[in-house]
Every structure is written in structure tokens, then in C-alpha cells.
């Protein structure tokens, strides 16, 4: 992208998608695009965040998101500290707010939080002086995942407007689904959710999506098939009866994928359960699966988000600057 326009980004925190305008989303994706190019160069370091301190506060285990945020901060020149639950004061009984206040006293500029409770990022944002980025709170939101998914699609297809996107699987517990529904809806895509009724939140249709219980109708003419992870403890009879039944009716295999458009892209936020929600053959199809690309886009999108929050504006030029 070569746009020279500067888009103001008047947000202190990035907690969800709802606060972002379509213009801001486009500008974030433009900036991220330039960071993709940077990340592919041997020399990846910029100094946009030099002198800034970023704390990654992960109350839930995570490999790719934590690594992605860490790399994003470091590539922009920030000092990045990782805090995970193991060895933290949380294990010793400290509350979230006390932990936040303690860390806040050390004057971080950016705090990236992942927490099992919906609303944890919001709570943290009320207590600290710096910027908070929500890296996933409970079943509520995961805005950087939605942005990286959008970037992946945009780079492959060229646009988001008018695309049919089928989000399949455990919608009920998924923050990824909620953020994607918001973002894709804002950008003019037609979003469908496909799941057994037990894995759909009530009144899901009120989110502005089409609700399907059958993969054949849900995937019909889809441009994008986005699979969600189903946690193992949820398929032993409580939400679905068994892995084999889930895979039979909701697992993405060649047969079900045939209902989508012939060039439909396959996405997954990871980590995948092969043979549960997605067949290995489909997951590894180099022509269709963009699952690895999603991971690459993740770093670039997070760089754009950190940059935008610190500088309060977005310009696609910066990636080329140094």
C-alpha cells in the first residue's frame, strides 16, 4: 500500500472491534500490510517504539499469540516483558486489579492481556495509565485475531465487501467468532455461523449473522470457511456426544468443503485438532488452507496495533521509513 494519508487513531486501548470505524480498520490493515513486507526482510527492526515498555500479561496459556505480540513489540523497538501465570503473584492469590496496579506503578506504555474471564481487559483498562490491548478475554473478544484474519483474506481475495464467510464450530465459547462477526459485518461481508445448537449462544441471529445447523447449507457458496477449535473437554457428552459424531457432521473434510465455492479459503485460528474440527488433508491443502499465513499476518497486525495506540495515528508509510 502506498497511501500517504494519515488516519487519526484516537483510542487509548484496543479492547474490541466495536470501537473501530471501517476507516480505522482499513488503515490498520494498510499499515499491517507494510509490516508484512518488513517482516520478510532479513533486517526486521524499526525504532517506532524505542524506549517504550510493553508488558505481556498472559493469565491463560498461549504460545502463538504471546510470541506474536512479543515479536511485534520487539520489531518496533519496544522493551517487552512477558508475565505468565506460572510464577506470578496471581498464583499467590493476588487479584487481577492488584496485579494491574502493581505493574502500572512500573509505568508500562502498553499492556497486552489474555485472561479466561470475559471483561478482564476492560477492567484492566480502567485501572492503568498506559494502553491495554485485549489478546483474548474469555468468550468475549479477540480483536487482533479478527484483524489478522481480515488481513489474510484481504491479501488473498483483495477485498472483504460482499464475501460469504462461514464460521463453523464452537461459536458459543469463541471470542474469535465474536470479534470476526463484528469485523466482517462492519466491512460488508455476509457472515454465517454453522454449529450444532448446543454450541451456539442464544439469539445468535441478533448478531447479524445467518445461523445454520447443517454444514451443507452453511457452507453453500462460501468464499471463506473459518473453522474454530473445539476443546476436548467439550466433546464428551456435554455439548456434543463424541468426537466421531462431531467430525461426521461438523468436521471440515473434502465432502463438506465441496459445498463451498471451488476456490474457497480455509482458515483456523489454531491450534488445530486434526480429525476433530478439521481433516488433515484439508488443513494441509496448500491451495486452499491459509492457516500458516494467518500466523504470519498476526505479527504484522499486532505491530500495526501497537504502533497506532502509541502514536495515535496511522500511516502506511512508516513501514518503509527506515
Amino acid at each position: 500500500m502506498t497511501s500517504l494519508a494519515v488516519t487519526p487513531f484516537p483510542h487509548r486501548h484496543l479492547l474490541g472491534i466495536e470501537d473501530l470505524s471501517t476507516g480505522e480498520i482499513n488503515a490498520l490493515l494498510d499499515l499491517a500490510d507494510s509490516y508484512v513486507d518488513l517482516n520478510r526482510r532479513p533486517e526486521k527492526k524499526l525504532s517506532r517504539l524505542r524506549g517504550r515498555t510493553q508488558i505481556n500479561l498472559f493469565f491463560e496459556s498461549s504460545t502463538r499469540t504471546k510470541t506474536s505480540f512479543e515479536l511485534a513489540g520487539k520489531r518496533l523497538g519496544a522493551d517487552v516483558i512477558n508475565m505468565s501465570v506460572e510464577g506470578s503473584a496471581i498464583k499467590k492469590g493476588e487479584t487481577l486489579i492488584d496485579t494491574a496496579m502493581t505493574l502500572n506503578a512500573m509505568q508500562p506504555d502498553l499492556m497486552v492481556i489474555r485472561h479466561a474471564a470475559s471483561g478482564a481487559a476492560e477492567l484492566l483498562s480502567q485501572k492503568v495509565n498506559g494502553s491495554v490491548i485485549n489478546a483474548g478475554d474469555g468468550s468475549h473478544a479477540h480483536p487482533t485475531q479478527a484483524l489478522l484474519d481480515a488481513l489474510t483474506i484481504r491479501r488473498r481475495v483483495g477485498h472483504l465487501q460482499g464475501l460469504v464467510v462461514a464460521i463453523c464450530g464452537d461459536i458459543l465459547h469463541s471470542r474469535v467468532a465474536r470479534s470476526n462477526i463484528q469485523l466482517l459485518g462492519k466491512m460488508g461481508a455476509l457472515v454465517r455461523v454453522v454449529a450444532p445448537p448446543t454450541l451456539l449462544p442464544s439469539e445468535a441471529d441478533r448478531l447479524g449473522v445467518e445461523v445454520h445447523h447443517d454444514m451443507a447449507t452453511g457452507l453453500k457458496n462460501a468464499d471463506i470457511v473459518m473453522m474454530l477449535r473445539l476443546q476436548l473437554e467439550r466433546m464428551k457428552g456435554a455439548f456434543v456426544p463424541s468426537i466421531r459424531e462431531y467430525f461426521r457432521y461438523y468436521g471440515l473434510d473434502r465432502e463438506k468443503l465441496a459445498h463451498a465455492k471451488p476456490d474457497a479459503l480455509i482458515m483456523h485460528p489454531g491450534p488445530m485438532n486434526r480429525g476433530v474440527e478439521i481433516d488433515t488433508e484439508v488443513a494441509d491443502d496448500i491451495n486452499r488452507s491459509v492457516i500458516r499465513e494467518q500466523v504470519e499476518m498476526g505479527v504484522a497486525v499486532r505491530m500495526a496495533c501497537l504502533d497506532a495506540l502509541v502514536h495515535g495515528e496511522l500511516s502506511a508509510e512508516v513501514g518503509e521509513a527506515e
Binding site: 457428552g237 456426544p241 459424531e245
Partner: protein, 433 residues
């Protein structure tokens, strides 16, 4: 064994009863290859030469009965009943399709067990046996079974038999999940904590006999809960067996709301009341228990108006060892395949229900709930028929039962009406001669 090819047969000179079309009149039925080929005034000008002709002598001909709830003893309790003996009993009672309860040993909660039951039924059964699969694994009331795969294997319904799902979240998820497959969930609505160690209806008789009682509220509390969960989920819910006046009211309200709910009743609940327990007659120990006379009358009214959809035998064979015990220790249950229809006929004779409506409760409506093509006299429907005379008087004789077990509360009861012939897939499986 159900044979696969059947000779072309003309059933002539019958009073046709078909609730599906509201037919009650003189006519004939032609069956070819196990299916009904034609219905109506077919042979006034003479019968075809190539068909076997069965003269019904002006007696009633109706679609065979579809029993939504029967325990067949097999596998696991073959000393009480087998598929062979149960289907013999069914044939005598005019029942052409039995839905087998999954509370066998082992419990029918796996695809292979559904297939086993189907295979055994084809090999040893005289009438159709369709498996119901367990609603929860091991009937434990915790984890739902594979509704999709089990339906594909042939399970027509999901139920935990005489066990109730106490955890409302489990029932909610099961009913919700079942909507994907249109599966029918049948539930025994009885709050176990309130039923406690009760052995009969809570009331005067229980008090006089010194037996612990099961209050009517144990049923209606659970049923009301279930109906609200059915409303929440949009699932297809069937109360397997209701027994109280308040349950009939609850069902009526739920149906008025437009919910996809239905209910069944066992013959003893419209024929008997808790006074029948009398001198500790263990053959009257059933679940839910025989209720008060007021409840019984409400059940009759519910059947008459259609609030109660289905009459099911709730056939539950028990050997003498299970019943020759002090009342509190005796097993629950009564056999019912052979008596379901004649006990039902009592309601028609007393003017409580039209004969056509009785056939609807015994055949058309259960077939409809189960999604079966049976239950109607229509071209292309399976040739599952019953020929009966509603009038001749006789006495029920448990000793003459085809069933291996004789635990009936109706022994020596004077009744009216007899099955003359039962036809499954175009073959006569019972002929009273």
C-alpha cells in the same frame, strides 16, 4: 422372522378404520409385496384371481398398532422375555411395530448395539421391532449419546427408559442438540428426590397400607420443568407416560402454546386407580404409580380430547421372583402388549372415546411422532394391519399369554373385543382362527 416377500392379498368385506383420513366405512384393502396397493370399495365386482382373498366378515380393519414403549428383555434378561416371545405377544395384541426400550443389558447406547437389536429382531421377531437408543450414555443422565449416528443406524427415538434426567442442563442440551437431527426425545417425568423410596401413589390407600407414597407432584414438577426446557430449546419432547390430572393440564397448556410436545399413557393409568393395590397386589406396582380415581378420570378425558397423543403398552416383563415379594421390595412393571388394545376398547365401549380416535392413539399418532410410514391405510404404506371384532366378551387369562412373563394387573378381567388377525408386511402373523 419377518419374511420379505408377501403374496398379493385382498382383504374384503371390512369396516375400514383409518384415522389419517377419518375413514370409518365399508371397504377393501389390497396388499402387494408387503405394501398397501389400494384401499376402498375395490372388489364389489369380484376379487382378482391372482390374490389370496381374506373375508373380514364385516369386522374392523385398521392400521396395526405402533407401541412406543416396551421392554423386550433381550439382550440380557432373556429369562423374562425375548424378542421372539414379546413379538408373539404383540401379534396377539394387534401390535405390528414395537419400539424397544434401551434399558437392556447391555444398554443400547452404541451403534453396534442398535444394529445388533435390529438384526435379532429380523431373525427372531414376528412383528417389527425398532430400537430406541439411550438418551444418555449408560442411562447415567450425564452425557448425551450420538443422536446423529444412532439415528442413521436406525434408532427411532431417544429415551432413558424409566429413568429421569435430574440435571436440567443435560436435558436442555440434549433437546437442543436433537433439533439438528429432528430426533424425538422421550422422557420419564418423575422427580427422583420427591418420589424417594415411594412404591405407590401417595394418598389414602398408601396411608392405610403403610406404604411410602410417590406424590402426584413428583410427576408434574418434572413435567413442567421439561415443558419449559422444550420451549427454551424448540426440541421435540415426548412425556413417555403421564398419570395425573395436573400433568394433563400442563400438557394442554404447552400444546396451546404451540410447543412441539406430546405425551403417552399406559393402559393401566386410564383403567385402574390406586385402590387396586388392595391387598398388596404387586402386579399393580408400576411406574408412575396407579393414581387416584380423580387422576384416572382426567387421563381418560385427556385421551378423549387428544391432549394425550399416544397409548403405549409400557410392557415390562417381570418373572415371579420379582413380584412374589413384599410390596415395597417387588419390582415395578406390568406386561401389556397383549392387553393394551382390549383395555383401550373399554374406553370406546363406555363412550369415552370414538373408535377412530382410539386407533389414532394406538397407531396413527405414534407412527407420526416416530416419523414412520405406518399408522394409515394408504397406498404405499406398509401392509401392517389389524382385523378385530370390538364386541365379543371374554376374560383375560394371564396363563394363556404368549409373553414369557405373566405380571399383569388385568388377569381375569372381563373385557370386550378381540383381535382376529394381525398382518405385518403383508403376512399374517396372528390368526385367531
Amino acid at each position: 422372522m419377518i419374511e420379505t416377500t408377501a403374496p398379493k392379498t385382498a382383504y374384503v368385506n371390512a369396516r375400514l378404520l383409518d384415522p389419517a383420513t377419518g375413514t370409518d366405512g365399508k371397504g377393501d384393502v389390497l396388499t402387494v409385496d408387503g405394501e398397501i396397493a389400494d384401499v376402498g370399495a375395490l372388489f364389489d365386482a369380484g376379487t382378482p384371481d391372482d390374490a389370496i382373498v381374506i373375508d373380514c366378515g364385516g369386522k374392523c380393519l385398521a392400521p396395526g398398532f405402533v407401541d412406543m414403549m416396551a421392554s423386550l428383555g433381550e439382550p440380557g434378561r432373556e429369562h423374562k422375555e425375548t424378542i421372539h416371545t414379546a413379538t408373539r405377544a404383540a401379534a396377539v395384541g394387534g401390535v405390528t411395530t414395537i419400539v424397544a426400550s434401551p434399558d437392556t443389558r447391555p444398554i443400547i447406547d452404541e451403534i453396534a448395539l442398535v444394529e445388533f437389536l435390529e438384526r435379532r429382531a429380523i431373525e427372531t421377531g414376528d412383528v417389527r421391532v425398532l430400537p430406541a437408543a439411550a438418551l444418555t450414555k449408560g442411562l447415567a443422565g450425564e452425557e448425551m449419546t450420538e443422536f446423529g449416528l444412532l439415528s442413521e443406524a436406525g434408532a427411532v427415538m431417544f429415551t432413558d427408559g424409566y429413568r429421569s434426567i435430574t440435571n436440567a442442563q443435560v436435558l436442555r442440551r440434549a433437546l437442543s442438540y436433537a433439533t439438528s437431527f429432528g430426533a424425538l426425545i422421550s422422557h420419564h417425568a418423575e422427580l427422583p428426590e420427591l418420589a424417594g423410596d415411594g412404591v405407590m401413589n401417595d394418598g389414602e390407600t398408601a396411608t392405610r397400607l403403610g406404604l411410602s407414597g410417590i406424590p402426584a407432584a413428583a410427576e408434574v414438577i418434572m413435567l413442567e420443568r421439561d415443558l419449559r426446557i422444550a420451549e427454551l430449546t424448540g426440541g421435540r419432547y415426548h412425556a413417555a407416560s403421564i398419570s395425573t390430572a395436573e400433568s394433563v393440564d400442563a400438557m394442554r397448556r404447552a400444546k396451546d402454546k404451540g410447543l412441539k410436545v406430546s405425551c403417552g399413557v399406559a393402559p393401566y393409568h386410564f383403567a385402574l386407580n390406586d385402590a387396586e393395590v388392595g391387598p398388596y397386589r404387586t402386579f399393580t406396582k408400576v411406574t408412575p404409580p396407579l393414581r387416584s380415581e380423580m387422576d384416572r378420570q382426567a387421563i381418560v378425558a385427556g385421551l378423549s380430547e387428544g391432549t394425550i397423543d399416544v397409548i403405549a403398552s409400557h410392557h415390562r416383563p417381570e418373572d415371579p421372583e420379582g413380584k412374589r415379594l413384599p410390596f415395597a421390595q417387588a419390582a415395578f412393571g406390568a406386561v401389556g402388549l397383549e392387553t393394551m388394545f382390549v383395555i383401550g376398547l373399554e374406553l370406546a365401549h363406555t363412550g369415552n372415546i370414538a373408535l377412530l380416535d382410539l386407533i389414532a392413539r394406538l397407531s396413527t399418532r405414534p407412527a407420526e411422532l416416530l416419523g414412520l410410514p405406518q399408522g394409515r391405510l394408504a397406498k404405499g404404506a406398509p401392509a401392517d394391519l389389524v382385523v378385530f371384532d370390538p364386541d365379543p366378551p371374554w376374560r383375560i387369562d394371564a396363563g394363556a399369554f404368549q409373553s414369557k412373563s405373566k405380571n399383569t394387573p388385568f388377569d381375569e378381567r372381563p373385557v370386550q373385543g378381540r383381535v382376529l388377525r394381525t398382518v405385518v408386511a403383508g403376512h399374517t402373523v396372528y390368526d385367531a382362527g
